[in-house]
């Protein structure tokens, strides 16, 4: 028994004991092939998945090495069956290769003839494969490249794509590291450089970097490497403008070279930033903005927040297999379980931030999460008890009792910028009136929105009430306090977005606070339990207090 920090469970989870002296080394060893699932304070949970193993394989790790590190760090005997399974799974990657044959064009080539025979017979591949060239090679029509890769992955024989890429329309792009327009010179951080190199060597793929690690710069550097027209796909307009700002500041690109393709503007320029939303909008059942993909001979396609990529985009991406694709994300985990499509259509994981950098991002409680439980008044309880099931959450979440608590919380942090986040407009208006603070909601125009955000940034406005629109891609670097009054605890990933935006490490190292005001003994508490679990799994400190502790006079502290 080696007494290592790792415990390998038979359900393919790996438990890593953080306090063990070898924990660091072990983390380095298993990070390439295991997905971090939960990272609470003492024991982190990783999971071995076929995709994770194939990602490792694509990155050049072999089964022997994976098995070795499992055995080396494992505290207890590792089940033989699991080791066999790992080796067999990894062995499946790359038995088939997509390659460019000088004579026949795109071909599917087998390093293992039996595998080719097996997949060629599969019904799922019907129509994708052309005629047989020889025993080991089958012709593939270039238009089927993406779909074939998808289908092969589903069959469990992921193909290695060695067919190369078109160069696309050349366009000069340089990183402006010397400083531009009087800005200070800067350099690409080492891990950003490594990420770009790994991506470029691999051709296409996903770079995984934690929030705030400068994913935009990785995109910019990749563009500078490609020196070609680039299509950038982002989640929404605000994020798109942020990309634009960053690109103008950090590269040789000028405002005129960057186009915005959104609900408001439809510009197609050498570098075009489009939102997922506009691309997936339909009229009469047809996607109306598909032409964008063919509008130029794009040399590079950048996908921001790959884990949010909507399903239709995958379908378009299947046709873009001859173009270089760069995916940027903080996590490969998708709510809809379509990690496989990311793997086959955008590419395997090319770079994962080294552990040290994640650590400096502060995985150890960068913020204090506090759940404040409010006791409903008897009248509220009674109306809650008799409410229809679908009305219950709304009743609980928008209880008026929450208002004084919110006010007390805001007053607790007189020095800080405070965001109040909610899901119900009526409630937000109530709060806005109660706190005398402006509201950003869906109907707020983009212009007004940016004005308010700017004011918030400069400190003109201390408290801002925002609705669900604030969930995605808003950049509020100085919001040190967030108070959530209601929400639709839908997906973990929405929660991650919402919290991640607020809980960024502050420039001056101040503690950030995240409050959730919850009605006791209602369905609200149950949602809060999900939240508690999610946050704790991310390693955030989480405490639960009663509203009376917030409202009442501050207890004299001992220290």
């Amino acid at each position: 028994m080696s007494g290592g920090p790792l415990i390998v469970q038979s359900d393919k989870t790996l438990l890593l004991e953080i306090d063990h002296p070898d924990a660091q080394a072990c983390r380095m060893a298993i990070a390439p092939f295991a997905e971090l699932e939960r990272s609470p304070e003492h024991v982190h949970t990783y999971r071995l998945t076929p995709l994770g193993l194939w990602n490792a394989r694509a990155a050049g790790h072999d089964a022997e090495g994976v098995v070795d590190s499992l055995i080396k760090y494992s505290r207890y005997p590792v089940p033989h069956a699991l080791l066999v399974d790992v080796a067999e799974t990894m062995d499946r990657y790359g038995r088939l290769q997509l390659a460019n044959d000088p004579a026949h064009g795109l071909v599917l080539r087998a390093l293992d003839r039996l595998v080719l025979i097996e997949v060629a017979k599969s019904k799922k591949l019907a129509g994708m494969l052309g005629d047989k060239i020889d025993d080991d090679t089958i012709r593939v029509h270039p238009s089927e490249r993406g779909r074939l890769k998808q289908a092969l992955l589903k069959l469990g024989w992921p193909a290695e794509d060695l067919a190369g890429y078109v160069d696309g329309e050349a366009h000069p792009i340089e990183l402006a590291e010397a400083g531009k327009d009087g800005r200070k010179p800067w350099t690409l951080r080492s891990y950003q450089r490594e990420a770009v190199e790994a991506f470029w060597a691999g051709g296409s793929g996903v770079v995984v970097l934690p929030c705030g690690a400068g994913k935009t710069l990785v995109g910019a550097a990749a563009m500078a490497e490609a020196k070609a027209t680039t299509l950038i796909l982002v989640t929404n307009t605000v994020a798109g403008r942020q990309w634009k700002r960053e690109l103008i500041a950090r590269t040789s690109l000028t405002e005129e070279e960057i186009g915005e393709y959104s609900g408001e503007r439809k510009e197609i320029r050498p570098v075009t930033i489009a939102t997922y939303q506009v691309l997936t909008s339909r009229r009469g059942g047809a996607f109306t903005h598909l032409d964008l993909f063919g509008a130029r001979d794009w040399g590079l396609v950048v996908y921001d927040e790959v884990h949010l990529l909507p399903a239709p985009i995958f379908r378009f991406t299947a046709d873009l297999q001859a173009r270089r694709r760069l995916g940027l994300t903080a996590t490969l985990v998708r709510e809809d379980g379509r990690e496989g499509d990311v793997f086959s259509l955008i590419g395997p994981k090319r770079y994962d931030a080294p552990w040290k950098d994640i650590e400096s991002q502060g995985w150890i409680a960068p913020a204090e999460c506090v759940e404040v439980r409010v006791t409903l008044t008897d009248a509220e309880r009674m109306s809650y008890a008799t409410a229809e099931a679908e009305e219950r959450y709304r009743m609980a979440a928008t209880a008026r009792t929450k208002l004084p608590v919110v006010k007390a919380l805001v007053d607790r942090h007189p020095e800080d910028q405070v965001l109040v986040i909610g899901a119900y407009i009526d409630q937000l208006h109530q709060i806005g009136e109660y706190l005398d603070a402006p509201i950003v909601q869906g109907s707020t125009t983009n212009k007004e929105r940016e004005r308010l955000f700017d004011a918030f940034r400069t400190g003109e406005i201390r408290t801002l009430v925002i609705s669900k629109v604030g969930n995605f891609s808003i950049d509020l670097p100085e919001a040190a306090v967030a108070i959530q009054v209601s929400g639709t605890f839908g997906s973990r990933q929405e929660e991650a977005q919402r919290l991640g935006r607020v809980l960024r490490p502050k420039a001056d190292g101040r503690q950030a606070h995240f409050y959730t005001v919850v009605s006791r003994d209602t369905i609200d508490t149950e949602y809060a339990a999900h939240r508690q679990r999610f946050l704790a799994e991310q390693g955030y400190a989480y405490t639960i207090v009663d509203a009376d502790d917030v409202l009442g006079p501050k207890l004299p502290t001992v220290d």
């Binding site: 390998v8 359900d11 609470p40 207890y76 066999v84 508690q532």
Partner: protein
Amino acid sequence: MTTSLADHLRSLPDESLAALLQLRPDLVVPVPADVSALAIRAQSRVSVARALDGLDQFTLGILDAARLTRHPDEGTTATDAVLAMATTGPHPPAPTAVRAAVNRLRALFLLYGPEHALHVVPAVDEVSPYPAGLGRPAAELDPRTAALCADPAKLRRTLLAAPPSARAILDRLAAGPPVGSVPPGALQAPPIGAQDAVLADPTNGGAPTGSPVRWLVDNRLLVSVSAGSSTASGTVELPREVGLLLRRDSGPLGPLRTSPPPVATAPREPKAVDSAGAGQTMEVVRHTEGLLEQLAAEPAPVLRSGGIGVRDLRRLARTAGLDEPTTALLLEVAYAAGLAGELEMPGSTTGRYGADQQVLPTGGYEVWRAASLAQRWEHLAHAWLTMTRQVGLVGRRDDRDRPITALSAEAERAGAPATRRAVLGVLADLEPATAPTAEEVQALLDWRAPRRSRGREAAHREVLAEAAQLGVTGLGALTSYGRLLLGELTSADEPGGDPLGLHVDAESGDPSSAARALDALLPAPVDHFLVQADLTVVVPGPPEPALAAELEATTEPESAGGASVHRVTTASVRRALDAGYTADDLHELFRRRSRTPVPQGLSYLVDDVARKHGGLRVGSAGAYLRSDDEALLTEVLADRRLESLTLRRLAPTVLSTPYQVSRLLGALRDAGYAPVQEDGTGGTMLSRPRIRRAPARVAVTTRTLDPLAAPKLPMPRLLGVVEHIRRGDAAARAARRAPAVVRGGAAGLGGGPVPAHTHSEALAVLQQAVRDKALVWVGYVDAHGATASRLVKPVSIGAGYLRAEDERTEMLHTFALHRITAAVLAD
């Protein structure tokens, strides 16, 4: 002069005979009456086949050499001739190895006689008709072929003239076996190269360009040995001379290998092997327990044709998170280990025995569950080694294309334990931690006992796969504890090693050495856990029983394996409170067991649940008693005759009792009240599901390892057997020596009535013998009218009977005097 095997055996010293019996234990079942019977049995086809089964490839090759070198007339051979033939090949084996093989064969009495005149037991030819894969001599087959073979130069020329397709057939037959079947009509087809070949009818089975077989037969290189009609498929045989000529390069016996084929794979780290195996053992035990728990929750019905259905197996596999073959294996092993058994289904509709049965965990399962991990595994592994089931058949189809189900009779194979032992024996004989490939194991088995391993390749692969699955092997090599387990089983099979049962282990409850070795590899139980803010509780190892019980009461399991992850939820805390824990108990429990500070969220959760706990009150009652008449209820409550019911007043109009309705009803009626039972709707009747168990079964592990293997006998017993045979032999010989007058009895006198004088003479002789205490041959007519004779010592004569002692059997016999036909004093 030929001596019979019986004579030869008779001339042997006792020790040699005993050695033979030890080598071929099947000869003493039952104990033969005398040496002749022993000789006959030793030459019987069955016994010879058994002896041959155990021989390795090389020894069989040497036996073939002995058969080939037999003198055509005398049928004997000599060691030197065998040696000469065996060493003619390009890679001749060492003469000492050949001599050793000959000695082995002589010890088995497959060869007997002096070195210069060795006999081969004739049954060998019956058991394997073609020595060394060579056909019969041409002289036995066909005179014309014999003539060709007699002319070596011509034979060679004919061979060289053979077309390539014909040559290919020859080479295949030369490698053995030397007979091949040909499609019907092939012999009628024109030979290859013939003028009319191109025009041949393609429907006659021969290729349109002519039949190579026909060519070979026409040129006398093959002999058609089928006597059937021209349309039937024929058989051709390659004459021995032609075969030998074709084997010029490899030697007459084909390639001979004195030692087992080497294993090319590099040995693994023994620690890694043990570790991988130990990891697997934990899995096996855990999965078996999971499966049996699943069976307890939802028993699997037994099909009418036996076994449990495919759908049930699939269900079990799904809930246990296993694949179906593994589920079938674990189920079979658990059944063989006596952990699962059948029980009549409750509410069975038919009275027919075995009509509606289901498979459930047995009572033995409880005992098993209480044992340590290593012991539990050992119990399973032991059952696997000894069970006569070939689990690999489950899921396949039988001869009638019906699926073979788990636990059904179709998967029963009596030879399975021997196969397992053979395969694992191969692994055990290699260096520790050597992990041969399946092909290498097969090659080793082929060398060790080719007659036994032939045709069992699939079974061998299955054994290897199952051994890996059960953790007997790790990373393809036998684990240290697996080796010990195998050793224990093998030694348990030899009663001679432990006649007094001094080393009883399994029964006395002490862990065996295998279990102890495994125990050292498995993680030690831990008594603490780590609590985290996401309300998970991680036990970094197998929990102690006390800790496991506490966790079962207070948490939900999430992930299992070497360690276990549990989650504290509202429901689990509520359950703990229900089970009698108080909030303080829970705080104390987490504080005491946790190595890490208890997170605030957990404490809050416990307090929050505890606050709400008990807001509603629920009780359980066996039955209730309800009446609108409060006075009547008060009377019942006060009735001393009903005290035993421990009635309790819940409300003015409701009483409750912990006893069942029937008892309450009966007691009330006995006391003179007139209660009426209420319909159950709206009632608070609670019932707890009874845990049902099938009756205890005897584990298969109490059987010996291989029911087919003959018992091994210790030396003293063998010598006893030999003595018995000897005495029988002496008696038989003596019987032949009996004087003619006695032997012939009445028959010698033409079947007429016994003359009076002969009878009185006999009586006189007997009386004289009683006085002299002399041995007498007595001829008599037995109860069936047959005449018999016996050498006895008369003891007394009286009341019409002679009482005499038989020296051989040391028994007192009583003969009716009127049946005695003759008596002669023995000389």
